[in-house]
Symmetry: C2
Subunit: 134 residues, 2 copies
């Protein structure tokens, strides 16, 4: 498969992840995540989770009542059977930056890592530092 | 190189990234980032940056006065010449979750992607939503 087609397929896998997310489709989420590689997941503002069991337990809890999530500006890179995609998540007026990593497994891209973090819409005015952390 | 040695080398590259970061060493940062692959970077609370020029400009600005950054709990996966590492960043009492992706390039791991996002220590008490975004 050409690099362009690989990337196109990875972006489709990224879209499928958000479709399952928005629909609360835990069964789809189980097939979206890699079964052959160690997986990692950092939900917004939480410690990273390691391993398929912990990661799928987190999705089981989240997908009981999934947030109304939409995605935009997905862009990615596919290299040597691994693809990483960045995109923006839109949840109820909030915007989050996400990184999603996929591995080529049994003829499809499967998710090996997800990190999402909020992008504040305005400077914090409370006790938080006014400067970005980096 | 065995998978174990690959991962060990990727974790060393991750440590070298934070050494350069803490030291404000822009020259080292230039050699740490990939030159052969498209690179992506999401600094905390900001839109993702795409491409080496934008990413290196961001580091040039940050490294003029680097924050006192330390790193812990680095764990990763190396697959087919691509490695992704999660770790915690510690900056002045704040904790951030980070994802760093490395590609094997000219005999060394070079960074292709960095995302870092704050982990709040307590529930927000202002106008922010009290529930996690996901």
């Amino acid at each position: 498969m050409s690099e362009e087609r690989e990337l196109h397929a990875a972006l489709a896998a990224n879209a499928a992840f958000y479709t399952a997310f928005a629909a609360g489709d835990l069964r789809a989420m189980h097939t979206i995540w890699s079964v052959s590689e160690p997986v990692l997941c950092s939900h917004p503002g939480t410690l990273p989770l390691h391993g398929r069991t912990s990661v799928m337990e987190s999705w089981q809890a989240i997908l009981v009542q999934p947030p109304p999530i939409a995605v935009s500006e997905a862009r990615g890179v596919a290299i040597r059977g691994v693809a990483f995609v960045t995109c923006l998540e839109h949840i109820g007026g909030e915007i989050l930056a996400a990184t999603n990593v996929f591995v080529w497994e049994e003829g499809q891209w499967r998710m090996a890592h997800h990190q999402s973090g909020a992008i504040p819409r305005q400077k914090p005015t409370g006790p938080e530092p006014e400067q970005p952390l980096h």
